[in-house]
């Protein structure tokens, strides 16, 4: 059977499973649609949350980011997991007790203001749509690589599949589909990692292999990796960073962004009890950690594998790295997987010094330029796209072709599950918060569900359109989604629970100032409304205020939000007694029913 047929079989079988589940768990009521009937077991919910959370970015990109950035990119690992600690202690149990369907519901009711509700809806929609675009693009790339269709077709196929199960299934369908998707994606991620870890360190658990001895050379794996890339002019993989302020703020932005992203928060409305919301956050993190503890191993081992493939003399015990670096492989002798990926254009080779060999090194390192010249190198010749690491892993490790099919299914599952969760958050904000609560309170349950489905279809079309014509800012959009959610929604949700004194004016002022400050900072460096070339200042560390990158600004935006909200609230009228009673009641689990409609 050809690789294409195997990919088709795996992707097709996993789709049949998801669609089957979506039909089996079809939503019959608005409650089924929004919160899965409110009867989801905490472990099941944890697994679904994990699939919801781990997108194409986690599955496909993160290992590549770790491989290229080493220690400095640990921020992604800590930021995307540490947010669950805040979620479990500061938001999830109380929002579950509050017992409504959506995030704007809480903000609108708690701050007794439809303005606050509207601002929350806007923040939610902007954050979610920007995030969906990335997922559509990711799914499109995965489809086009494995199904051998054009990127455009890949995105349309992804849109169609998401439409089918998200629109017909609602939350109930999504919950059980996401459980299936989690299982597919974790198996797909782990199997190649286990084999690679065994091959390099003899340890079957990749997370432990990372800190074990590299079998071939007899030195610790990470020390070996440092030696190898050091001889090629790269920074040590484990090297410390100088700009610690930026590292702290970036980690914090990812954490508050995680806690403020509405599609993750609404998952906690689906469990039966307040106590379950707490357990559920823990289980979600356990399931996420299974991938996140493997990712750094995948990244570092893939980097080592790539380097020792190019420089075979560096693989074993090396006396003199300078000497080992002088004999990279001949281009003709490159392994099969390099050839297949060259066809996709994601690996490119240019023989700059015409010696027929492949030289890979850090040609932007000025201190290394002399060494490179002595070796007769005229620039790094192999350009490898970071994003292919996970997808190419089975090929690098010479694993059987069914593992490649499995990886294809896993990558697509990761992108689709997140897209579906985000679309649900968008549709409930439109149909429930905008139409039912603010425009037409007398709408029937059937009418509301129809509006939800129409808005979901509209959001899919918009995201597909933007995915087809990407404005060229995939990484920035994801950061923007985190920045917006972290700087606007997270602080007001937290103050709504922990401060009885916080009033409507304070909350609206806080949300708007956090949002605007974050957007201004991002636009200044990345272009106004992301139009390339319109940025006021070049996006370089020298221009950043206090060395804070635009990606890290979400944390500062959140602090501005808190500060403005508290100052404005302290000089305006305290909230009415019934609101203070409401805050009181969300703090205690007693008397929590199922999540209810108005």
């Amino acid at each position: 059977m050809s690789q294409f047929a195997i990919n088709l079989l795996f992707v097709g079988a996993s789709f049949a499973l998801y669609i089957g589940i979506a039909i089996w768990a079809r939503a019959g009521s608005t409650k089924d649609f929004y919160v899965a009937g409110g009867g989801v077991h905490p472990i099941t919910n944890g697994m679904a949350t994990a699939a919801d959370w781990m997108s194409a970015a986690s599955f496909i990109s993160m290992a590549g980011l770790l491989a290229s950035g080493g220690y400095a990119n640990s921020t992604f690992l800590m930021g995307w997991t540490g947010g669950y600690v805040i979620l479990a202690m500061l938001l999830a149990p109380y929002l579950r007790k509050f017992g409504k369907f959506t995030v704007p519901d809480f903000i609108g009711d708690r701050f007794y203001s439809n303005t606050a509700r509207l601002v929350a809806v806007i923040c939610l929609i902007v954050a979610s749509i920007t995030y969906v675009i990335g997922q559509m693009t990711g799914a499109g790339v995965a489809f086009s690589r494995f199904l051998e269709v054009s990127n455009t077709w890949g995105i349309w196929i992804a849109a169609f599949i998401v439409f089918l199960y998200a629109v017909f299934g609602g939350m109930k369908g999504i919950t059980y589909t996401q459980v299936a998707q989690y299982i597919v994606l974790i198996i797909a991620y782990t199997i190649p990692a286990v084999f690679i870890s065994l091959e390099l360190t003899g340890n079957p658990i990749p997370g432990l292999g990372l800190f074990s001895t590299h079998t071939e050379s007899g030195v610790p794996l990470l020390a070996k990796l440092d030696d190898v890339i050091n001889a090629l002019g790269f920074r040590d993989y484990t090297a410390d960073v100088d700009n610690k302020l930026n590292m702290v703020l970036f980690t914090m932005s990812l954490m508050v962004g995680t806690a403020g992203l509405p599609h993750v928060i609404i998952r906690f409305f689906t469990v039966p009890k307040v106590a379950d919301a707490r357990w559920s956050a823990g289980w979600a993190l356990v399931f996420i950690a299974l991938l996140y503890l493997t990712a750094p191993a995948v990244g570092s081992m893939a980097r080592l594998n790539l380097m020792t493939t190019v420089y075979p003399d560096m693989a074993g015990q090396v006396e003199n790295y300078d000497e080992a670096a002088t004999s990279p492989i001949l281009y003709e002798d490159r392994p099969e997987w390099v050839r297949t990926w060259e066809e996709t254009g994601l690996i490119t080779y240019t023989d700059k010094n015409n010696d027929g060999r492949i030289q890979v090194y850090n040609d932007s390192n000025e201190a290394f330029a002399d060494t490179a010249e002595q070796r007769g190198w005229e620039g790094s010749e192999l350009d490898v796209n970071n994003d292919i690491l996970v997808l190419a892993n089975p090929e690098i490790a010479n694993l059987p072709s069914w593992v490649i099919g499995l990886i294809a299914a896993g990558g697509i599952a990761a992108a689709l599950s997140t897209a579906a969760g985000l679309l649900l958050a968008i549709s409930s904000a439109v149909s429930h918060d905008l139409i039912k609560t603010m425009i037409n309170p007398r709408i029937t349950e059937k009418g509301e569900m129809l509006a939800a489905r129409i808005s979901m279809a509209g959001a899919i079309l918009l995201a597909t359109y933007l995915g087809l014509n990407p404005p060229g800012f995939a990484a920035q959009t994801v950061a923007l989604a985190f920045g917006i959610a972290g700087a606007s929604l997270f602080p007001v949700l937290m103050m709504g629970i922990f401060s009885k004194r916080m009033n409507n004016v304070g909350a609206v002022a806080g949300m708007l100032s956090g949002l605007v400050a974050t957007l201004l900072y991002i636009f200044t460096y990345l272009g106004w409304f992301f139009i390339p070339g319109t940025n006021t200042l070049a996006n370089t560390p020298d221009n950043w205020i206090l060395g804070i990158s635009p990606l890290s600004f979400g944390a500062v935006g959140a602090m501005i939000n808190f500060a403005v909200a508290f100052s404005v609230s302290s000089v305006t009228k305290a909230p009415p007694q019934e609101i203070q009673d409401l805050v009181e009641s969300v703090r205690y689990p007693k008397g929590a029913g199922m999540a209810v409609d108005h």
């Binding site: 800590m78 805040i86 990372l210 914090m252 703090r587």
Partner: protein, 86 residues
């Protein structure tokens, strides 16, 4: 009613104390050991690198899981103790 109120207030302040403690540990492992205090931990070797690196890539995640389960377990006991559970 007055008893209910002071009972509820005691429950809430116990919860806030617990959260504060958990957040201190949370910040200590991530912002502390993994980032700011890494130079101080550089002398402690872990599999080819140092303890700070381990915290950044694995230790903090494992601690996060521990914190959430500890909090959930402790809160369940508080719910019962103050009779405010479901």
């Amino acid at each position: 009613m007055a008893d209910d109120k002071s009972n509820a207030a005691a429950y809430w302040s116990a919860n806030v104390r617990l959260i504060t403690g958990c957040l201190i540990v949370w910040a200590l492992v991530s912002y502390g050991c993994a980032i700011l205090l890494r130079p101080l931990l550089a002398g402690i070797p872990v599999g080819g690198t140092d303890l700070g690196f381990w915290f950044a890539q694995q230790g903090s995640i494992l601690t996060f899981i521990g914190i959430i389960f500890f909090y959930a377990w402790k809160m369940n006991r508080l719910d019962k103790k103050f009779d405010l559970g479901e």
